[in-house]
């Protein structure tokens, strides 16, 4: 639940009540203490998820009779607090004799049995386990009250039907702290022991059960691959360079996340991939890499391609025949997460943290979104069913317009022309970049120095930034061109995969053509040299409008008459030179 003020919550809850339509979810709240404030808090937590919930309060300290009265509601939630079984029991229990306590226990057993009997046909019963934590958290030994509660919890477990969820309130208190949960001021004046902070945490804690009942549980968990299922970039680092082994520090968080996902898959959650990668490379990792926990057979849908993720996620939802509001998407890139949040707000996203050690805990926190009340053997079979359905469908991919999103990013491209200070970084880029690399020529620092000193090359490094941050020097173009010469030739054009999908390459190419024209060039030659890793750019120059002059399996050569070039005219990327001069 978002942290709005309590007054604001009351106001918004009233607004939602007036606007929400659809089937009512009727919830009764029964208690032997005052928890009236939970009504609005629980309503708001569900209504803000689109569930038309209505909470009705039972009478004060009338749980047994109310359980008969409200049994026809969709949900009955109970706060049956030991401190008020009889007035002041939290301190009186220590003063009572064994006989007295035994008699009380028998009476409570009877009341519990009656209540559970009354509620046996209610679709969902949220029954708080009996807890003494507010009163006994400093005790070293169990008290008489603890023993009584243990017996009652045992009885509850024995007699509960499949419709009952025993809620461990101690877990909620642990999240808030004991001092932050209890309000002694209102406990003594009106027997209201809980602070609003606790009630909000409680609503958040139980909401997955209620969302499940309302058919709103999430159904599919979709992962990016690089830096999401493993540390590293497969296309750059290769199979040996990526880490997801439980035996290494780098790999351990990823091994754990894969394990959590695999267990979810066994419980019927649909697992899938949405990744910009070469499909054959990913498939090989899935089938043969010894450190993988997730395997090909665990995955129902795979969209491993170079199309944008909005299109792919929509396609995944269509293929599985579920709504976008059933998806959870995990990715390490600010850009992709930002794009999905903006274009597909129904999708819940998890941004893989830079502090990788926090990743598994975030995943566990997210796991409750998939909570389902029924845990049948059908769940496991569901994976296979979805998988077969997905294989039958070969959905045609459509391309969403992502221009509005790109426009909102405040993208900038800063050019460094023949900048000797960047020689080490430029050499490193030629050594390490595999995927977006047209010719894959590897150069040493000395080689790059020679290009700069020789006067026959235009060496252009570029920096990309957007509102999420500065990605640093992430691309390089080396063009052979002696000033005044008519002919120019692209020797190297490469870009780090961190800045893919933003049309940066196109803005750069527009600029390159303008610069070369200004330097007197008339004709530009270029080539694509195929490697096992650069399939994603095999038609890059074709898309830019260059003419193929020669093509074989290994390479394609191109030519462009500069005067006839049609610039893309991208207006949402600000192109600058490194001295700040705008271009």
């Amino acid at each position: 639940m978002s942290e709005i003020s309590y007054g604001e919550l009351l106001r918004r809850n009233r607004e939602l009540e007036a606007t929400l339509e659809g089937k009512r979810l009727k919830i009764a709240l029964l208690s032997n203490v005052v928890v009236a404030q939970l009504k609005e808090i629980l309503e708001y937590s569900l209504r803000s998820c689109g569930v038309n919930a209505q909470v009705e309060l039972g009478d004060y300290d009338n749980v047994v009779q109310d359980s008969a009265r409200f049994a026809g509601h969709d949900v009955v939630a109970l706060f049956w607090e030991p401190c008020n079984f009889i007035d002041g029991l939290h301190y009186r229990a220590a003063l009572m004799g064994a006989d007295e306590l035994a008699a009380l226990r028998e009476r409570l057993f009877g009341e519990l049995d009656l209540t559970l009997g009354n509620l046996r046909l209610t679709p969902l019963v949220l029954f708080n386990r009996f807890s003494t934590l507010l009163f006994n958290c400093h005790e070293l030994r169990d008290t008489a009250l603890d023993r009584l509660c243990r017996d009652l919890n045992h009885r509850l477990e024995e007699r509960a039907g499949a419709n009952l969820l025993a809620v461990d309130v101690d877990r909620v208190i642990a999240q808030v702290s004991v001092a932050g949960s209890v309000e002694w001021r209102s406990f003594h004046s009106v027997r209201a022991p809980y602070r609003v902070e606790f009630l909000r945490a409680y609503a958040e804690h139980v909401s997955p059960a209620l969302l499940s009942l309302a058919g709103r549980a999430r159904k599919a968990l979709i992962f990016d691959c690089d830096n999401t299922l493993w540390e590293g970039v497969l296309g750059e680092d290769g199979e040996e360079g990526i880490a997801m082994s439980a035996q290494t520090r780098q790999g351990r968080p990823f091994a754990e996340v894969q394990g959590i996902a695999k267990a979810l898959g066994r419980d019927g959650v649909v697992l899938g991939l949405c990744s910009k990668n070469n499909p054959q490379d990913v498939d090989r990792v899935l089938t043969t890499h010894g450190d993988m926990t997730l395997r090909d057979e665990d995955l129902v849908v795979k969209r491993v391609n170079w199309a944008d993720k909005v299109t792919n996620l929509q396609d995944i939802a269509d293929t599985l025949n579920i709504g976008l509001d059933s998806l959870v998407f995990v990715d390490d890139s600010n850009f992709e997460i930002g794009l999905v949040r903006e274009r597909l707000p129904e999708v819940v996203t998890l941004h893989v943290p830079a502090t990788r050690y926090d990743y598994p805990a975030l995943m566990r926190r997210l796991r409750v979104l998939f909570f389902t009340l029924s845990r049948s053997s059908e769940d496991a079979a569901k994976t296979r069913m979805y998988r077969e359905e997905a294989q039958r469908q070969q959905a045609a991919s459509s391309f969403a317009s992502i221009e509005d999103y790109l426009r909102s990013l405040g993208l900038s491209l800063t050019l460094h022309v023949n900048d000797a200070g960047l020689v080490p970084r430029m050499a490193q880029l030629t050594q390490k970049t595999n995927q977006f690399n047209l010719t894959t020529r590897r150069y040493t620092e000395a080689d790059v120095q020679r290009f700069l000193a020789g006067g026959a090359h235009l060496v252009l490094a570029f920096r990309v930034a957007d509102r999420f941050g500065d990605y640093g020097i992430t691309g390089l173009a080396i063009v052979e061109h002696a000033p005044g010469a008519q002919r120019a030739r692209i020797d190297t054009l490469l870009m780090s995969c961190r800045v893919l999908g933003r049309n940066v390459e196109r803005a750069l190419f527009d600029r390159l053509v303008a610069d070369l024209t200004a330097r007197g060039a008339r004709v530009l030659e270029a080539e694509y040299v195929r490697t096992t890793k650069n399939a994603q750019v095999e038609d890059l120059f074709d898309r830019f409008g260059l003419r193929v002059t020669e093509a074989s399996d290994e390479r394609k050569r191109y030519q462009l008459n500069l005067a006839g070039y049609a610039p893309a005219g991208i207006d949402y990327i600000e192109v600058m030179e490194s001295d700040g001069r705008q271009g």
Partner: protein, 77 residues
């Protein structure tokens, strides 16, 4: 301070803020029952970052008394 208190009261009682006059009290606002009084206390404490004593809570029965008590507690305008 009075305007902020009025806005809180309007949120808690579910009425338009214009309906909360300078002499609004538990007698004049029909929605002001004991349950909403609890909500009002929590919402005021959150909004003005103060903590009332139980004595003060019993006495917070009009806008004037609320503003007076908030000032006593040193709440910021």
């Amino acid at each position: 301070m009075e305007d902020r208190a009025k806005r809180v009261m309007a949120s808690v009682f579910g009425v338009d803020v214009a309906r909360i006059g300078a002499d609004a009290s538990a007698q004049t606002v029909e929605q002001w029952d004991s349950l909403r009084h609890m909500n009002l206390v929590v919402a005021l404490e959150e909004e003005f970052r103060v903590r009332f004593t139980d004595q003060q809570i019993d006495e917070l029965l009009s806008l004037r008394l609320i503003v007076l008590t908030l000032k006593e507690l040193g709440a910021k305008e």
